[in-house]
């Protein structure tokens, strides 16, 4: 299984990589902004994408729209400090499958990742 972590913070990329490994994902690729994520999705099929919102070059929400616009149904989980209700709704409408607000508990994020992956397996 392969995942993509999209965050401009190296520390957050490391933390989320650890969470994915604990959830059973063996390979984790990294992107530092939305554009890198869109580019990565053109060449690689991921089982799950963890996406920050506020990043330089391209926002995470715009990357979600581009990825969905390209026809990819990869589960996308927003992991962001954007905690306002209107942001959550905006992300879900754009095509995100789940939403995790920073700061997060490490165990909670591992469980959410597992749930998203399991749901995707049931659909396919």
């Amino acid at each position: 299984m392969r995942a993509l972590v999209v965050d401009d913070s190296a520390v957050m990329r490391k933390m989320l990589t650890t969470a994915l490994e604990r959830a059973g994902i063996q390979e984790v690729d990294h992107a530092k902004d939305g554009q890198e994520a869109v580019d990565a999705c053109k060449t690689t099929d991921f089982e799950i994408i963890l996406m920050d919102w506020n990043m330089p070059n391209m926002l995470g929400i715009d990357a979600v729209r581009e990825i969905r616009g390209s026809g990819k149904s990869t589960p996308i989980v927003m992991v962001t400090t954007e905690a306002e209700r209107k942001r959550v709704i905006e992300a879900l409408q754009a095509g995100a499958n789940n939403y995790i607000i920073k700061p997060f508990d490490a165990n909670t994020i591992v469980e959410k990742i597992k749930v998203v992956i399991d749901k995707a397996k049931m659909v396919t």
Binding site: I101, P103, F104
Partner: protein, 160 residues
């Protein structure tokens, strides 16, 4: 949209955000000290993560740490022992202040207080630097103690 003057009531969501961050991601309690208004020439800590606030209110939120504390905080985030201040620690402090500001922004929005926009975080480090601000602005400092060391939250806003 009308401009809202940030006042002392707006400090609590930032203090609550510090508590939540330390409880949730660091597993360490942060104990708040007494807030105080800072003199203009107050010396910053060795490591300061800052985020600008704009939108319906203007100001700055800053989290300041002694260097050793910043290293311990980021090491705790990554569940490893770090020994020196480097790009990873700087990046981690940026993320810490980002989470504090983002969490407080959401709390203020929930209370229908001040809808805010946040800048990207900046981290300053060194032993001899000053942070200047406009004459009509004031800084409020909220000190904290924790098992990882002492640190402080500073908020700058326009005086009413």
């Amino acid at each position: 949209m009308a401009t809202v003057k940030i006042n002392v009531q707006h400090i609590n969501p930032f203090v609550d955000a510090v508590h939540e961050l330390f409880d949730t991601m660091l597993g360490v309690a942060a104990k708040r000290g007494n807030p105080r208004r800072l003199p203009k020439d107050a010396k910053p800590q060795e490591v300061v993560g800052m985020i600008g606030i704009s939108g319906s209110a203007r100001g700055v939120v800053a989290a300041g740490f002694p260097k050793d504390t910043s290293i311990r905080v980021v090491g705790k985030l990554l569940c490893c022992e770090l020994t020196e201040f480097d790009d990873i620690v700087s990046d981690g402090i940026a993320e810490v202040v980002n989470m504090i500001a983002g969490n407080a922004k959401a709390k203020l929005a929930e209370n229908h207080e001040a809808p805010l926009d946040l800048s990207l975080p900046t981290v300053l480090s060194g032993s001899d630097f000053r942070i200047e601000s406009p004459a009509d602005c004031i800084w409020i400092e909220v000190p904290f103690t924790s098992a990882l060391g002492e640190f402080e939250l500073r908020l700058m806003f326009e005086a009413e």
